[in-house]
Symmetry: C2
Subunit: 211 residues, 2 copies
């Protein structure tokens, strides 16, 4: 398979226009779309082909409410750690779309899977969690290419989320994903990511330092 | 930015044809290409826009030889942990292209960056390392779309690589990346990834379990 410069440009556009979306429209996504997005995770690299990601699709209103309450608590606590000016800026940020997003996924890594037979992770077990991060990114890019938005919420205590959902001890929590049609907000239309735009953290340039 | 179904298909093709490449041609890559690939890492998501990845481009033959020797040692040790049949299968696998790949990158995560101002990682500091995994995947996909191959080597002890390269204590090692033109081997032309093809670990399907 040989790609053209135009196809490479398309990949770049998808990556460039991916955003962490926090403003969603409530309309449901159809199951055929969700099935494609689920399958996009199958394309991610994983250490030893272990595919250690474990995904719960949380529809139950009680479970969603419990997770949202956990977010609110962690977010309020996080705000207290900044001094006055930064605290006000922090509290102005909208950091999750958990109250509206029609699809919500809790993503974990099985930290001791039989699959992969240990290959590639003997000295670096953390490659299992890196595999899950790449599976999330596969989903994220596939969603963006279908003009859908995804937001990765990490302002949660892993042990609390694990307790809410009753997952096995060896599943490490990676994040709560909100998925849906983005509102016509700056999330979706601005070329500049929110945190850069509001001055929280400007973009730094990746360096490849010579050795 | 609204993407068409055809553009979404292109993203899928790039993801589907990405491989962990271990057979490289030795020819150098031009610096303009490398500059594009470097910039692809800038497009990755990162917690709080912290961009915590740190990349060393290792050209020095002595440093490369030391890293390769470390791989050989770890790989031989890993083989001893399998029983006889699996050991023979393991030793038949070619798991790194470090002796030939023209570009080699050592990738780390700064686990305590000022950037991002702590946002999103207070309860989940591991999101910094997840950010780096996604930066590597951005590079990987961008390379594939330019018909180049990348292989992620993790059969290395992080503390030994850190010592070889003399990096700060707070940099966590994520992987050694080999980059170059792929040989016309099965790495590049088979639709089925190596580990599935040889029966080491077949592909599993991602599940979204309802809750």
């Amino acid at each position: 398979m040989i790609f053209t410069a135009e196809q490479a440009g398309t990949l770049w556009d998808v990556m460039r226009w991916r955003r962490d979306v926090r403003h969603f429209r409530p309309d449901a996504l159809d199951e055929a779309t969700l099935e494609r997005l689920r399958a996009a995770m199958d394309l991610a690299p994983s250490v030893g082909n272990a595919r250690p990601w474990r995904v719960l699709r949380v529809d139950d209103p009680g479970l969603r409410a419990a997770a949202r309450a956990e977010f609110e608590e962690c977010n309020a606590l996080a705000a207290t750690e900044y001094d006055e000016g930064a605290r006000a800026a922090y509290l102005r940020l909208k950091l999750a779309g958990m109250e509206v997003a029609p699809v919500q996924l809790a993503v974990f890594t099985d930290t001791d899977p039989a699959s992969g037979r240990g290959l590639g992770r003997r000295t670096m077990p953390e490659t299992l969690r890196a595999s899950t991060a790449m599976a999330v990114y596969s989903l994220w890019l596939a969603a963006r290419a279908e003009n859908l938005g995804l937001g990765w919420v990490s302002i949660l205590r892993p042990e609390v989320v694990g307790r809410i959902l009753g997952v096995p001890e060896e599943w490490a929590f990676e994040g709560w994903l909100c998925l849906g049609r983005p509102e016509e907000s700056e999330d979706a239309v601005s070329h500049t990511p929110l945190l850069h735009r509001v001055g929280w953290q400007e973009n730094a340039t990746t360096q490849w330092l010579r050795r």
